[in-house]
Each structure stands twice: as C-alpha cells, then as structure tokens.
Symmetry: C2
Subunit: 132 residues, 2 copies
Amino acid sequence: MQRGTERQTKQKQAIYEVLCSLDHPSATEVYERIRTQFPTISRGTVFRVLGGFAESGKIRKLQLADTDDRYDPTLASHYHARCRGCGRVIDVVSPQAEAVLRGVRVGGFTVDGAEVEFFGLCDDCKKTQEEA
Amino acid sequence: MQRGTERQTKQKQAIYEVLCSLDHPSATEVYERIRTQFPTISRGTVFRVLGGFAESGKIRKLQLADTDDRYDPTLASHYHARCRGCGRVIDVVSPQAEAVLRGVRVGGFTVDGAEVEFFGLCDDCKKTQEEA
DNA sequence: CTGGATGCAAAGGTTTTGCACGCTA
DNA sequence: TAGCGTGCAAAACCTTTGCATCCAG
C-alpha cells in the first residue's frame, strides 16, 4: 500500500529535455537523439519513460494519422495540424473550436475530452507542389 | 496508359459486407470474421483490400488513439467517440462543430480537413464504474 | 489471353515485456 | 537498504511485401 514513489533519474531528465528540444518527436526520434549524449540508454527505457510521463499527465501523447506516436511537452489545450507533404506537426489554438466541442452531446455517452487533427499542406509543401 | 481497372472479386465483396456487419472493426477483426466463411483468405489480402477501399474513398480508415486502425463504411461526414472503458467506437454527428472547424485558420498552413475524436465513457462502462 | 488480385510466408517496424542488476531516496 | 528504474534482448503485434499462381474481364 505504498504510493508509487516516482524517482528522479538522469535518464528521465534527459528524455524530457530532448523532448522539449525537438518538434513533436516520436519515441524513436527521442531515442536516436538522446543516444548521442547517453549511448547506453535503451529503447525500452525511452518508451517506458515517455509512456509514464504521458500517463501521469506530464506530457501529451499524440496519435495522429499515418505516423507513429508522437509526444508533446506542451500541456496547454491545443490541437494539431499535420502536413500531408512533409509530415510536420503544427500546434493549433482555437478557443472557439474548443468551446463548441465541449458543448457536443453524444447519446449514451459521457464526453470528457476531444482531440482534433487538421490535415493540409504547410506553405513550403504547397509552394513545392505548385511548382511541379 | 491504361487506367487501373479495378477488378471485382468475391473477396472484396465479402470484405465489404463483413465490414458493414461489424462495428468499426480493425483489419484483424475483419480477417477473423471473414475467415469463418472464407477459410483460405489471407491477412495480406484483407489489409490490401481495406487499404485500397480507403484510398479510393469507398470507406474511411480511422486512426484513433490507443488502438489499431479501424475501418468505417459510413462516408457521410461524422466524427467518433471512443469509450475509455470498453474501447467501443460511436459515431458522432455535429454540423455545428463541423462548421466551426472548417473556419479555423492555421498560420502558414492550408487546412483542407479535420478529424475529431471524443473521449469519455459509454453508459454501460459508466454504470459499471459507479458500482465499483 | 492479360494483368490485376490472391495466398502464403517472411520481412519490417514499432512498442511491450521479463529479468537481473544498479541506483535513488 | 528497499524497491523503483534501467539495460538488454526477445517477444508480441500490426502491417507490408515479394512472388508464384489464379481468375475476372
């Protein structure tokens, strides 16, 4: 009956820092990157730590279409836009959308949250596409 | 210069029917189910056919959080709610949310679509949880 | 007939797990 | 010192692919 005492370790700290320095990275990207300064860290640890952070609410886990899971250290409420061209993920803030979504009622179901993923093309990819 | 002539086969037909008879199934669920009436069908075929349907726009491919890809034969615009308890997926229709999301502008990005996933508990799971 | 569609099986890639050892508190 | 966290490696999963064969058009 002992409360899960979360322990502070260099690995956790490093993983969190790397996460913040990258842009919506996947677990593998964090792993690759952290490996440069922490050659012995294991994939399993990265997945476990990231998963733990997400579960405890310290970070967010993004499960977007057509790509592996990504992690986001930004906790403030926001959505995401994903470029169909380069896969880049951009943060989207829309208090208006938030308000409307919060008001949506689903029969036989109690809603307690919603995620939105926008699709489209970022300016760079759009330009490239137009040139072609 | 020959247009990709899509061929009609019993497998495709059966896969589509099974998809309609199940509730937002994953490719594996479709495979298991179809196997009862089509013992020799292969996993690869189910994935290929489902993927092809999705790409051609005949069905929708749902990539929801914490679960494998699911397929939805309903093309009319709608969103999805996923029960945290049993994982059940429920269709959600909200013209209002749709309208608002269509109006969202993202800097440096051209939005051409949006998906929404609601989270919560279905009545059954809510009841079960309250009893505990 | 012809080329797309299947079946089969093996490969791929991501995420999870079991275990023994190490290290934080 | 106790037991959570880590490293390592194998397992589990879902999905994709290569290739020979089959069959719809």
